[in-house]
């Protein structure tokens, strides 16, 4: 809220991000900053660039222009021989990614590993955490998300809600500075949405810094401190969640919130599109 006063850097700062897929401009100059303990809800209709925004932050997609700072550290970009923009130092990207937890719409748990193995894999292999400590920590997280009794099961035997809670535990095990959640409940059956939102709600109460792409308006109002509404690749409206969700100023946002055509469609058919929209 007070970027000009303190010297403290934002946990995550995105400046003027652009991304096009072929001739389709998905992001057209997006800037945002998440300070510690901020919970930012990113909303928008299908195709407004929400998921792409998250994917450009941890460089799963390479932004065409713009800067990303994580905890004050700029991700360095350069151009390769063919003129493609790319990360200047892949090791820096890997390092930064360990500081950004990612939760995917379709969970993306590693199917050949048990729930426990999924959670301890990256801490052990990437961060070099001793195995025993990683397991202790994983057990703690599993209790927190209510999956301790499933720790030795393979993902294929879990419900969608359980899979997503396991995926959240996997992200938390990296002790990330910022958690990126990409439509974490959109692929779930309606009766499973609640258990996942409950876990995310707990994380917000703990003061986790999060960026959540979501269609759950009530959830955004209750949990997020700020809401950003994207439209056609740009920030259409943003502000404190209660304020902008209760009294949206832009016509677009109002239509989206009232569950008119687009918003409703995006809410009821979340799964077919993969996650690039």
């Amino acid at each position: 809220m007070t970027p000009d006063v303190g010297p403290r850097e934002a946990a995550l700062r995105v400046t003027n991000l652009h991304k096009a897929f072929g001739s389709l401009d998905v992001l057209r100059g997006i800037s945002l900053a998440a300070h510690e303990h901020d919970v930012i809800a990113v909303m928008g209709a299908s195709g407004s660039g929400k998921s792409t925004l998250l994917r450009c932050i941890n460089l799963l997609d390479i932004p065409d222009a713009g800067e990303v700072h994580v905890g004050g550290e700029l991700i360095h970009m350069c151009f390769d021989r063919r003129g493609q923009r790319t990360a200047a130092d892949p090791r820096q990207v890997d390092r930064i990614r360990t500081r950004l937890g990612m939760v995917f719409q379709r969970f993306n748990l590693w199917s050949h590993m048990t729930v426990l193995q999924n959670i301890i894999e990256a801490p052990i292999r990437v961060l070099g955490v001793p195995r025993r400590r990683a397991i202790e920590q994983a057990d703690q997280l599993l209790r927190k998300v209510g999956l301790y009794d499933k720790r030795d099961d393979f993902p294929a035997y879990l419900s969608g809600g359980q899979e997503q809670r396991a995926a959240i535990a996997r992200a938390l095990a990296m002790e990330p500075e910022v958690l990126l959640l990409d439509e974490p409940t959109s692929a779930l059956d309606p009766e499973l949405v609640g258990e996942v939102l409950k876990v995310i709600d707990d994380l917000a109460a703990e003061g986790r810094t999060m960026l959540i792409v979501t269609h759950e308006i009530g959830f955004a109002r209750a949990v997020s401190s700020r809401t950003i509404f994207l439209h056609q690749g740009m920030v259409n409206e943003q502000g404190p969640s209660r304020q902008v969700l209760d009294e949206p100023r832009s016509e677009r946002f109002r239509r989206f919130l009232s569950g008119g055509n687009w918003g409703r469609a995006a809410l009821t058919t979340p799964s077919q599109t993969g996650g690039n929209e």
Binding site: D94, F104, R106, W110, S111, A122
Partner: protein, 233 residues
């Protein structure tokens, strides 16, 4: 069991069987190694690697196996000797038929394994690879911990197939005088003038190998399906 009178040549068939299995296993090992390398080449970012792997599979799969075997066993030593002679050196190269057999069969089936592995690697769900990248896994770690372990699940049925065809193709190397199962049967059949008896016996041996292979393959596959619901059945 029905007894088949082998007129004292039984030991020869058993010895031939042992050699066939040895050549088969050696060639399969080589084929798997070449297949992984080939698949890596085909999926590489580098054009030279893609070209090399593409040429390998095209050439090998496009030429009859028998010709390749004769080419390697007789052709390569002659070629090397001629080259040495033209350089004014007298060189005599003898290829060990056992080694030549493994090398050629391995080379041929490596091309088929390449295609099996390429398909299997591409069958690993993209989202799981993205998750690994999102958690800061580098290329090598991603390959070793996420892609390869899952790739086997998709590759095993195809590899089993490669093995079945490969083990039968080892009969072809009887033409380079290696006394594996086929050649042993041939020698015994000529000596006793009982071709039906010995070729029939040999075919039972081959059938035995394939049936045993199928049983082993089933076990390996159910192990590789750990984590996938249908593996539990």
């Amino acid at each position: 069991m029905v007894t088949l009178d082998l007129h004292g040549y039984g030991w020869m068939l058993w010895r031939g069987l042992g050699l066939t299995i040895l050549v088969g296993l050696g060639a399969m090992g080589l084929a798997v190694a070449l297949g992984l390398l080939g698949a890596w080449g085909k999926l590489s970012r580098y054009r030279a690697a893609r070209w090399l792997a593409g040429t390998y599979t095209t050439v090998i799969r496009g030429v009859p196996e028998l010709i390749l075997i004769l080419l390697v066993y007789y052709g390569v030593p002659t070629l090397v000797q001629d080259l040495a002679a033209s350089a004014g050196r007298d060189l005599r190269v003898d290829l060990n038929p056992f080694v030549a057999g493994i090398a050629t069969i391995g080379l041929i089936y490596g091309a088929f394994a390449t295609e099996v592995f390429r398909g299997a690697i591409q069958a690993v769900p993209r989202g799981q690879i993205e998750a690994a990248r999102a958690f800061g896994m580098g290329r090598a770690l991603l390959l070793r911990r996420v892609v390869l372990p899952q790739m086997w699940r998709f590759a095993l049925p195809g590899l089993g197939n490669v093995w079945m065809v490969l083990i039968k193709a080892t009969a072809l190397i009887s033409v380079i005088q290696l006394e594996e199962l086929m050649r042993s049967a041939d020698i015994a059949a000529r000596a006793t003038r009982l071709p039906f008896t010995f070729f029939f016996a040999a075919s039972l041996f081959y059938l035995g190998i394939t049936i045993a292979s199928m049983l082993i393959q089933r076990r390996i596959e159910s192990w590789s399906y750990r984590g996938a619901p249908r593996g539990q059945g």
